[in-house]
Every structure is written in C-alpha cells, then in structure tokens.
Symmetry: C2
C-alpha cells in the first residue's frame, strides 16, 4: 500500500494493540502513536512494542497522522472520531474497529454532515476478537486471514475505500465492503446471537453441576466469559437485529424440541445432521 508516515490508534487494547504490533513488526509505517486516557496503559502498550509513543492528549496525538484508527468500546467511537476529525490533517482518513456499524456511521455522519472538505471517515470492523481483552493479549497475528468488513456510504470517495482496504490487507486481513445495515444484520447472527446463547446457557446451569461438565459445555459457553460492560453497548446499538436473530434461533431450537417431544427421532437426527453440515462447512 501507499505507506502511511504516521498512524494514530485511539484505544490500545486487544484490537488497537494488535494493529500497532502488526504495523511495527511489518515495518509498514514510520510511527505509531497510541492515544488513551490512562498513561499506565500507554506505557504497557509501548513496552509491548505496540506503539512508538503514547499520549493522553488526543489533539496533539493525531495532529500529524494520515490515518487515525479508533479502537475504543463502541459507545465512545463516534465522539472520538469527531475529536480526531477536528484535530488531524485535512487529508487524513479516520476509521474504527467497532462491532456495530449503523449507530457509529450515522452518528459520525451527523457530526461531519455537509462538509465537502476535511478528513474522511469510513467504518471498519475486524472480525477477529477474543473473549479476552486488553493489550496483554494483543498479537501481530490477530488479523491474519481474518475478515474485516468496511462500510462505505454513498459519500465515501473511492480513494478512501481503496486506502482503507489496503490498510487492512497490509495487516493480513481479507476485506469485504457492505452497508452498515447489512453488517449489523449479519453480525447479529454470527456474533451477538452466539454471545447471548452462550450467556443464557451458562446462566441456566446450576453452579454445583460444573464438575459434571466437559468440553461441550466449556466450548459452548466460552464467550459468556466476555466483559459485560463491553457487550452491553454492542447489544444496545444492534437491538432490533439481535431480536430478529433470536427469533431465528428460537425457531431452530423449537424444531429440535418438538421432534424430541414428539419422539420423532428420525426428524430429530435429520435436524442434527443439517446443523452439523453448516458447522462442518466452517471447519474445526
């Protein structure tokens, strides 16, 4: 890609830290600036090799960056994009890594509305999370072979889409463009619903039965260990799509339950087989 000279990362946790690590390990940029609220976290990120320098002053941090990546929890993204847009170079590109896109993209649209000049924003979502969070789990391999969804709008210049596509590809990811609404509907099914189902399963299990669990329970509930404070705003900004995904899930669960209840074991096995085919299509 056209090498960026300076990239600013706002929020140096798992995603932001991994972006920095990859950029620096691959020597893709002269300088990675980490921006955060807590000095201590920035020092940890710097020691880990994720950033060249850190600052708690957003405006000075983005002042010379051609690219700003906002990697904060979703509810903070739009505000940081606005702050960055007010302080970064006029020709800069701003993107984010939030797990929902409609709320962010429309909030940013409102803030930047009507401007024909100045920094451009395009939404991104690297689908490469982990139930663990924080810089200490960041790794340069996080994006390798993973999908990043970018969500251009009618107002996004082709050049901006191209730049951001190259950026994520340079980190090892595959890039798919779709609308923010398409993204949120898809992720409701592929990420938010699994989280909810895992949580419901964990919550439905009496604690005293844990010694009688094996790999099945362990795998099926793993993401329920994620941070509720991070997940709350993800669900809050994708409410109706998640509710639709729950309906789909409940229809599938009802089909299985009905077959079991009706002692229609042939139908029950057939439903398990169809589920297995979808699961097997993904691989282990």
């Amino acid at each position: 890609m056209a090498k960026f000279d300076s990239i600013a990362i706002i929020g140096v946790g798992l995603i932001g830290g991994s972006i920095g690590l990859t950029l620096r390990e691959r020597n893709l940029v002269r300088e990675v600036v980490g921006i955060g609220r807590r000095k201590h976290r920035l020092e940890v990120a710097q020691r880990a090799g994720a950033i060249d320098r850190g600052t708690t002053d957003l405006a000075s941090g983005v002042a010379k960056s051609q690219l700003v990546v906002v990697c904060t929890p979703v509810e903070l993204v739009a505000d940081y994009v606005a702050q960055a847009a007010a302080a970064c170079p006029m020709n800069a590109v701003i993107t984010d890594a939030g797990s929902t896109k409609v709320a962010i993209v429309s909030a940013v649209d409102t803030v930047l509305a009507g401007r024909r000049e100045g920094p451009r924003f395009i939404g991104s979502h690297p689908i490469a999370g982990d139930h663990r969070t924080g810089t200490e789990h960041a790794r340069a391999s996080l994006f390798e072979g993973r999908t990043v969804v970018v969500t251009p709008t009618d107002a996004t210049p082709a050049g901006t889409l191209e730049q951001i596509t190259h950026f994520w590809e340079s980190l090892g990811a595959r890039v798919t463009a779709m609308s923010a609404a398409e993204h949120d509907a898809a992720l409701a099914a592929t990420s938010h619903l699994p989280h909810l189902v895992a949580a419901a399963l964990a919550a439905a299990t009496p604690r005293e039965l844990l010694p009688l669990t094996a790999g099945g329970w362990r795998d099926t509930t793993r993401v329920a260990g994620g941070d509720p404070q991070l997940w709350r705003p993800i669900f809050a900004t994708n409410r109706s799509q998640v509710l639709s995904a729950i309906e789909q899930f409940e229809a599938s669960l009802s089909a299985l339950r009905n077959a079991l209840e009706a002692k229609d074991d042939g139908q029950f096995e057939q439903l398990l087989l169809e589920a297995k085919r979808t699961r097997d299509a993904l691989g282990d």
Copy 2:
C-alpha cells in the same frame, strides 16, 4: 488397585481405545482384549497400542476377563452387557461408558433380575468426550483429572463399587457416585442441552454468513459437529430430562431477550454478569 489380570473392552472407539491405551501405558493389566464387530477396527486399535489382541467373538473375548467395559453407542450397551454376563467369569465385574444411565441400568436390571450369583454390573460414565470419535483420536490422557460418574443401585455390593472406583481412579479420573436418575438430570443440563443449543445455533445461521463468523460462533457451535447417529439415542434415552433442561435455558434466554427488548440495559448487563460468573467459575 487390585490389579486385574485381563480386561475386555467392547467397542474400541474414542473411549474404549483411550481406556486400553491408558491401561497398557500404565501397565495396569496383563492383557487388554478388544472386542468389536469389524476386524479392521480391531487391527487399527491393536496397532495403536490400545489392545493386546482383538476378536469379533464376544463370548471368547470375555471368557477370562475379571472386568468387562462396554464402550459402544448407548443404544447397544444393555444388550452387550447381557451377552458379556452370559459368557464372562462368575466373579467378573461389568461396566459401561454410556452417556445416559437410567435406560441402561434399568434394562440391565431386567436382564439380570433375581440373580444372586454371577457377574455384577455397575453403570459408569466418563465425562471426557470429544466431538471427534474413533480410535484414531484415542489418547492415554483422556481421563486425567476428568470426572467419572458411577451409578450403583441398592443391589450393588460395596466391593463392586470399590473395584470400579479404583479402576477409573487408576486411569487418572475422579469418581463420583450418584443414582442413574441424578446422573441423567445433571447431564441433560451439562452436556445434552449444550449440544442442542449448539445445533440450533448452527442451524439458525445462513451458510453464506460463515465468512463473517469469528471465535464466538466457532466455539459456541463446535459440538454441533458431533455425529448425529451417536447423539440421537442419547437424546432418545433422556428425553424428559432434556426437555426440562430446555425449559431452564429458555427462561434464561427470555430474561435476556426481555431486558433487551425493554431497553433495560442495566438489567441486561446484570444478566450477562451473572452468566459470566458461572462461566468464570469453571476457568478457561
């Protein structure tokens, strides 16, 4: 433990093969006899070091065994126990590894009813599966630190319970005794429900969205890749307990859905937190 001279394993797949491997690696027995329907599978098990010799003739295979372990799919267990009881030494102990216990224990009770002499049966369930099956995934570490439930009845002599407890402990497992009914109710929640939920989630996911899945979907659906033919009889022999477990799950899911729908994000986060606490109590 009082070392067994000869142990027969009926069914040399993942569980049976792993029992054989562990017995032989730990030098716990003079001879492990593998019994199966297909000569080829027995040869594979022998080459893998899981058995000393194999035979398709059950009666001759168990003729000199002090312990017979039936490791077939659940729907075949009771019949094999009956065949083994008719052919093994009078002082032998027979156990199994089936995932449900009420159906097996009561079927065996019926067959062996009224006998005051002869081989003793006690149900076992090593909670140490894998979504992959077959001898090729067998390993000597499979039972290390895992729980094995044994299900003695009022008719089980104390000496038999002790023998079988020592047997599983010698393979590295922890042994817990409970009634077959308690076992089935617990496993409905800890194993059968997770399987059903994983299958429903996989089935509810449009195939074209698989590229937009990440670790969450992957983990939450993993067990849905299990063999439907093996799982069908597990569910069929634990129908009412599984239906109760589904009710528990649906109550938990409804609580989350209602909070989401009502935009009560505080309550929603609290429910996620309670689920996380149960999940975290298990560890990664």
